[in-house]
């Protein structure tokens, strides 16, 4: 199932979307809690199946450099900032509330997660309680970011607190444990022998109150839109495989971009993404910098990556490769016409290369992901596994051809395809699938 990952408080899908994702992941950092609690989610079709990512893995953010993000997170009680309740009579507007409470919340921001049992219990309880009140279809228990080689003892305390609270609240929807790992812990190690992975899945598998894991890999090292480390990607697939095939649990994967489709083939039940870079990867430093306005990029399903709109697509439009890499959606129809008639960008202003002009590109990305998901829905796991294998092999071949056609990899993703294909095939060999 493909879920849309919300960015900021824009819960709406891009205006030109013709397909509605199966559900949505609302990131806590997208909107302050008082606002989220009072917002009607009825108008958003994709949010009728929703989960809330508590994002405790962002607890170390620096309020001086990630002020806006920290303010929003600090309004949720599990971060330990003790946010004051929003009162209409007192605060009147959310803007006034923000102005009034933000300095204190930033000041109280602990930059650390709860460590002792009682604090952990309170944090987890408040987190699950709020998700129940928000009508989430599944609850995601918070967990700190695992960024050092640990015995997973602290994270296990969060797992136990989640199990305890789920029993106490007699929760009737599935409860997932957050698993947030810095990718540095997964690089340069054979994932099949990585004891951290084994410990994580062991700890989740052994708690029957937990339905599975909500997995986020912090992309601390790679700077691009996508992960380009084979060990990290293979490790992700092993995590999913351990949980789904090994322990009959479920896995939700977010912030891994189109590789989410490979995650689904490996057994994940949900993958979540979105057009913006911040919806495709999780990187702490992304939260701390002013990234400016996005430019349109054309997502090619066949290439499993983006093609630069300004020059590269134009260059390909004069070769037979265009037909092979061009993914057709409602939102990309005008672009194809413009490329075929040499009238880009005049006849396709939605795709003109200028900052902020991303609605068509975002709708296109969404629709391509939804189409891929529709294919998955109509196939069993065996069919998905074979499909992803063919897809990644084809993407690798096309990346080579596009490069040979003279396209520069600066604005077009041409480096990751062989890495993705290799990671995926290593997993297939390992899992004998």
């Amino acid at each position: 199932m493909y879920y849309y990952c919300t960015k900021l408080n824009a819960f709406k899908l891009p205006p030109l979307c013709e397909r509605v994702p199966g559900g949505g992941v609302i990131a806590a950092s997208a909107v302050p809690y008082p606002q989220l609690a009072r917002r009607s989610l009825m108008p958003y079709g994709h949010l009728q199946h929703r989960v809330l990512d508590p994002q405790l893995y962002l607890a170390s953010l620096d309020p001086r450099t990630a002020t806006s993000m920290v303010y929003k997170l600090a309004t949720y009680p599990w971060f330990g900032s003790e946010p004051p309740t929003f009162q209409t009579g007192l605060h009147r507007t959310f803007a006034a509330y923000k102005e009034q409470v933000m300095p204190e919340l930033l000041h109280r921001w602990p930059r650390a997660v709860a460590m002792d049992d009682e604090q952990i219990y309170r944090a987890v309880r408040s987190c699950l309680q709020i998700q129940i009140e928000l009508g989430c279809e599944a609850l995601i228990a918070p967990s700190p970011l695992t960024n050092t080689n640990t015995s997973y003892t602290l994270e296990s305390k969060y797992l136990d607190a989640a199990a305890e609270v789920a029993n106490e609240l007699q929760v009737r929807v599935p409860v997932y444990a957050s698993v947030a790992i810095a990718d540095g812990l997964l690089r340069g190690q054979d994932p099949t022998q990585n004891v951290l992975l084994q410990t994580i899945t062991d700890q989740i598998a052994s708690r029957r109150e937990l339905a599975g894991a909500y997995i986020v890999l912090e992309q601390a090292v790679d700077t691009g839109y996508v992960c380009v480390n084979e060990d990290v990607l293979f490790a992700l697939l092993i995590l999913i495989d351990d949980l789904s095939r090994g322990a009959s649990k479920q896995a939700i994967v977010n912030y891994i971009g189109p590789f989410g489709a490979a995650a689904v083939a490996a057994g994940a039940t949900v993958w979540s993404s979105g057009y913006y870079r911040s919806q495709r990867r999780m990187r702490l430093s992304d939260q701390e910098e002013d990234v400016g306005r996005a430019y349109p990029r054309f997502y090619s399903a066949a290439l499993a990556g983006d093609i630069g709109v300004q020059l590269d697509l134009l260059q390909l439009s004069h070769t037979p490769l265009l037909q092979q890499v061009f993914s057709r959606t409602q939102a990309s129809r005008s672009l194809l016409h413009a490329l075929q008639t040499d009238t880009y960008p005049q006849s396709s202003p939605d795709w003109e290369y200028r900052p902020g002009n991303i609605w068509a590109a975002a709708a296109h990305y969404n629709d391509v992901c939804c189409k891929q998901e529709a294919f998955f829905d109509s196939h069993d796991q065996r069919g998905r596994i074979e499909f992803v294998d063919r897809w990644l092999c084809q993407a690798e071949r096309l990346a080579g051809e596009v490069r040979r056609a003279g396209v520069d990899p600066t604005h077009t993703d041409l480096r990751h395809q062989s890495i993705w294909r290799s990671a995926y095939q290593r997993w297939r060999q390992y899992a004998q699938m």
Binding site: Y152, Q198, T201, D202, I204, A205, S206, R245, G246, A247
Partner: protein, 279 residues
């Protein structure tokens, strides 16, 4: 390490009025286990107990662990702790634990005396010990020493009981060993236990799987070679060509290297219960 075994008469004198000693049940490196009876308060009857006398005073921490673990959970598939304390015998102080006496035989003694155990009895052992593992894990306790010596077969093979929580670890407690080191019995340790990792009930499931392979064939699957278990246990079919396929399949999953791929206790209880019906 002082391991002088006290004289039985001295023990009887010390416990006079509280326990009547019948004789020794087992003498190990660290403890002497005696069979005894204890008057039931408020009635004329007596109950059988297994009185465990710790010989090594350096094992205090371990004994306290056992007391803590046993006090946290009571179950039909676990030997229940009735009483504990210290006694002075001669010039030495001994810690003692009085356990519910389980009439029957330890699985290791049974294997030594009559050889392999029928698959159906193995399934009974699997069901009951998995139940015990589930019960202690509900309190986040890992037994860490599941092996045939610590599994009692009730008389008539009507059930099994997991005994000796001596090295059980409550998940919040600090380790008794240094980093990367572990307690347990060589030949039964899970790969993660051997590596000194944080354990869950899935580690006990592995040890149970090895114990059941041994019970089924009458021989330890790797001849107690712990290193041979580093990547998981052997396939049951290779040890016992005629083992029932479903039973062998379940055992194979119990001894896989990756803990998440082993069946959870509840799944095992259900699986063995079904097998008992058909074997």
């Amino acid at each position: 390490m002082a391991t002088t075994v006290p004289d039985l008469q001295q023990v009887q004198e010390v416990f006079n009025g509280r326990f009547r000693i019948s004789g020794p049940l087992r003498l190990g490196g660290q403890a002497l286990v005696l069979r005894a009876t204890q008057p039931v308060s408020g009635s004329d009857t007596e109950q059988d107990v297994a009185l465990k006398l710790y010989l090594d005073s350096n094992q205090d921490e371990r004994v306290l662990r056992e007391i803590e673990a046993a006090s946290r959970v009571r179950h039909l598939t676990l030997a229940n702790l009735l009483e504990h304390g210290t006694v002075q015998i001669g010039d030495r102080r001994f810690r003692y634990l009085a356990w519910e006496f389980i009439p029957g035989t330890a699985l290791d003694s049974r294997l030594a005396s009559t050889g392999p155990v029928a698959p159906k009895v193995c399934a009974v052992v699997g069901r009951d010990v998995a139940t015990a593992i589930e019960a202690i894990w509900a309190r986040r306790i890992v037994h860490r020493d599941v092996n045939p010596k610590n599994i009692m077969l009730r008389a008539g093979d009507q059930g099994a009981v997991l005994i000796d929580l001596g090295i059980a670890k409550y998940i919040d407690s600090s380790p008794l060993t240094g980093p990367g080191l572990t307690w347990g019995t060589a030949g039964y340790l899970s790969p993660e236990q051997m590596s000194g990792l944080e354990l869950t009930c899935q580690s006990d499931i592995f040890s149970l799987g090895i114990s059941l392979q041994q019970a089924l064939t009458g021989n330890h699957p790797t001849n107690y070679d712990q290193r041979a278990l580093r990547y998981g246990g052997p396939r049951t079919e290779d040890l016992h060509a005629t083992a029932p396929a479903r039973f062998a399949g379940l055992l194979d999953r119990m001894v896989t290297q990756r803990p998440a791929h082993r069946p959870a206790p509840r799944m095992l209880i259900d699986g063995f219960t079904e097998l008992i019906q058909v074997l």
